[in-house]
């Protein structure tokens, strides 16, 4: 019996929006900055696609605050 997703749509739609939003935000930040506090560009680009955890991790420990504008 296929799992019925309909009751979960109120969750899934906003979740998808948040996840995609985080990935895009993180990707933009990774690609527009040259230096990172930890890790390198390839790592953070890949991790940006790891839902929620990846982008959050990037903004907490990967992002360099000495960033050029």
């Amino acid at each position: 019996m296929p799992f019925d997703l309909t009751p979960y749509l109120p969750f899934l739609i906003p979740l998808a929006v948040i996840e995609v939003g985080l990935t895009i935000a993180s990707l933009i930040h990774v690609l527009t900055h040259k230096t990172y506090r930890t890790g390198n560009r390839v790592l953070w680009v890949v991790l940006s696609f790891v839902q929620i955890i990846g982008p959050v991790l990037y903004f907490i420990i990967g992002r360099d605050d000495g960033g050029k504008d």
Partner: protein, 255 residues
């Protein structure tokens, strides 16, 4: 007063531009969604497990109270962890980077620094918490009949108060050790100490740690208000004590 407003504004700018505020908002938004979702999913997951195992379990339909149980568990554990991680550098980074020197030699009072940081962290935590609560409430109301919530305000307030307690610990630890690690370890140490104290019979009534989740029993009516009142009072007193101690300690700190 002007220095206080200016420095508090600086705190908000800092939390926004260093992505701490946006991250907390997103994380707590997710916690808010997760709690009712988990409550709704758990029976389904168990059912799919029991299908393969051949064991038949009859499961009660989840209720609003299951969603709130998830809420207390998620916010009380992971939510508090998020608070600790995000605010652990509140005082410590100012010390380790030496950014306070310019501010203090400009004539800013030291207690202004502490009060500004406390204000900013409190506002950010309150907004994050309310967002989480509102989302959780909306989903729970959408899926289930809310039923009776006993002492709704106090039950939720207890979680908020415990978060506030952690913030005051982090600020105090940050000033005491002037380092991020010190701030983390101090806060962690107090939490561990409170957990160990719980071994003593009947102490949970007085232990602030019971405010980080156990007040579900207040919400669902299993326990009365008197069971938690001492913990409330002690927690509130400790917040004031640690905040005052932070200011006194900071006034004596060499920079």
């Amino acid at each position: 007063m002007r220095a206080y407003l200016a420095f508090t504004k600086k705190e908000f700018t800092e939390n926004w531009r260093t992505y701490k505020l946006p991250i907390l908002l997103v994380v707590f938004l997710l916690f808010g969604m997760m709690s009712p979702l988990l409550a709704k999913l758990t029976p389904e997951l168990l059912k799919s497990l029991s299908d393969t195992g051949g064991v038949v379990i009859t499961l009660p339909e989840p209720t609003a109270m299951d969603a709130w149980a998830q809420f207390f568990k998620n916010v009380g554990q992971m939510g508090m962890l998020a608070i600790i991680i995000v605010f652990s550098g509140l005082m410590a980074t100012e010390f380790s980077k030496g950014t306070l020197v310019n501010m203090l030699t400009k004539g800013m009072k030291r207690h202004t620094v502490v009060l500004s940081k406390l204000t900013a962290a409190t506002v950010i935590w309150t907004v994050s918490f309310l967002l989480c609560l509102a989302v959780s409430y909306a989903y729970t109301a959408y899926f289930w009949d809310m039923g009776t919530l006993h002492y709704a305000f106090l039950s939720f307030f207890s979680l908020w108060l415990f978060g506030e307690f952690l913030i005051s610990l982090l600020i105090f630890g940050g000033i005491l050790f002037k380092s991020l690690m010190g701030s983390l370890l101090f806060c962690g140490g107090v939490i561990v100490a409170m957990t160990i104290l719980n071994i003593i019979p009947n102490i949970t009534r007085y232990n602030p740690s019971s405010l980080s989740g156990a007040t579900l029993e207040l919400l669902n009516g299993q326990k009365g208000l008197s069971e938690f009142m001492p913990a409330f009072v002690i927690c509130a007193v400790l917040i004031i004590v640690f905040s005052a101690a932070s200011i006194t300690l900071f006034n004596k700190k060499q920079i």
